[in-house]
Amino acid sequence: MYCIEASLLSKSYGDFIAVDGIDLKVEQGKIFGFLGPNGAGKTTTMKLLTTLIPPTGGRMNILGIDAIKSPLEVRKKIGVVLQQPSYEPTLSVEKSLEKYGMMWNVEKRIRKDRAEELLSAFDLVDIRKKKNDDLSIGQRRRVQVAREFMHEMELLFLDEPTVGLDPSARRGLLDFIKSKVRDGLTIFFTTHILEEAEYLCDDIAIINKGKIIAVDTPGELKSKFGREKTIKIHIGEQRDISSLLSGIKDCKIEYDSGAIITVHSSQSEQVLQNILQILASNNMTVEDLSVVPTSLEEIFLSVVKNSNASSD
């Protein structure tokens, strides 16, 4: 079953097309990563799916509800952590959680228990009496994310939720999200931090210039777009060997500080064999060698670059 089904969804502002006829399907109980460079249309898509703004065209069904006809019914069943900070400056951390629960009509007794759980899960116990205005950006972000778990929901939209968080808070949040998904929650997640998407997401879509240019699991994206590998060779002596390797085809070679060669190639095995032969025939020793598989970040950059090139 799909929690989100959008087809030909678009949003224009005058002549500017922010979202250009995208199709999306998000399965229930999965974490769906939505990646894209700045201004690609991620936040606009999020605003469309959360019914904050109406689309210019297309259809969208959220949790089986026609989100264009019945936006309020959709909003009653979803949670949203927007990219921009949102807080009540005069309220303390615990009061913020309590009031947010009240706004969602959560029973008083449940609010109290849930607030205690979240204060502890998001490491907010020590600052529970502090006013939001006095918190650091990271603390405020933690409160903003924690607050969203005060109410029941079937689908949670997270727009770059880890912005401003330190590494341990970030990992804590990602693990908390994973635990909620195990309990049946579906997550639509945008981020710039690709390690996060790789760690968290079951499926990933990449958007660029308002269009979705790739959708798949992180593993499939890597096997589709990540044939190129990076090889680092540390040779024993500092010597200009660029003329020796100039004849090797199907690769791009970088010579860092003379002793380290970085090779990028989609034919990595053949290229490596050729390089090692040339080095051996010139009596050069290899001190260290490593092969780095393509990261999601490189795939992302490559996919976006190709998309930009084809649209130009």
């Binding site: 605003k47 904050l52 909003r75 949203v80 921009q84 807080y87």
Partner: protein, 253 residues
């Protein structure tokens, strides 16, 4: 609980901090007791309809309208604060409609206006009690003035909140509006005796109408001018409320 009530609850919680309450009581008290008695040497008595009032009684009743204006301008700023702190969008992705958000602000402003009016009436009562003339119109007139005045000034603050983007601009506009409303009105001094231009300017100010209707209720004096002022207050608040609602419903997120 109905969504509007939940939003009103939230609005009151974020607005009613200790500083706000102290400010709401202290500020008018200073005017009533310090200015009221200090200016008595200059303004002994003021004629209001068929009554002659001591200046402290005059200013104490003026402070009821002043406090409604002051408190509702502040609570009208809820929208500004919600936009500034991201809560406007957050509420609109929650289980609420835009109409419910707008309505909750109107109710909040109305409640704060009525409570402010009651507080100052209680505090100022010893100063004007000997002139009070309760009649069938007293309570309806004071409540009418409190509600329409609250909606009017709350709408003005809401309109300013939706139109401006920078904090500096917002502060300049709201402070300028406050100074005009507060001091170019009959809240502090009577229109009679003021230079003609200033006296005319008093009647460009909705606070004058609000204060005059409150005084009419408290001192039991009702005539054609008061009726006209009530009509202007009623239509003015309705018109400004419609403009504020329209601007709020079109506010981009």
């Amino acid at each position: 609980m109905h969504p509007v009530i939940r939003l009103v609850n939230r609005n009151l919680t974020i607005s009613l901090n200790m500083g706000f309450v102290i400010w709401q009581i202290l500020f008018p008290l200073i005017y009533i007791f310090v200015a009221g008695f200090a200016y008595t040497a200059l303004i002994h008595q003021v004629t209001f309809g068929n009554k002659t009032l001591d200046y402290p009684a005059f200013i104490a009743t003026g402070m009821i309208g002043f406090n409604i204006m002051n408190s509702t301008l502040i609570s009208g700023i809820i929208i500004w604060n919600d936009r500034r702190h991201g809560m406007f969008e957050q509420i609109l992705v929650g289980p609420f409609t835009r109409a419910q958000y707008i309505l909750s602000n109107v109710y909040t402003i109305g409640i704060i206006g009525l409570v402010s009016a009651s507080m100052i009436t209680a505090v100022g009562y010893p100063l004007f009690f000997n002139k009070v003339e309760f009649n069938i119109l007293t309570v309806p007139l004071v409540i009418f003035a409190s509600i329409t005045g609250s909606i009017l000034f709350g709408s003005i603050a809401s309109i300013i909140s939706t139109r401006l983007k920078s904090s500096e601009g917002f502060n300049v506009v709201i402070n300028t509006a406050f100074l005009f409303f507060a001091f170019v009105s009959t809240a502090f001094y009577p229109a009679q005796g003021a230079p003609p231009i200033l006296s005319a300017a008093f009647y460009l100010n909705p606070l004058t109408y609000l204060v005059d209707v409150v005084r009419a209720g408290i001192f039991g004096y009702f005539n054609g001018l008061v009726a006209t002022e009530m009509i202007i207050l009623g239509f003015g608040s309705m018109a400004l409320f419609l403009v504020a609602t329209k601007l709020l419903s079109k506010l981009e997120v």
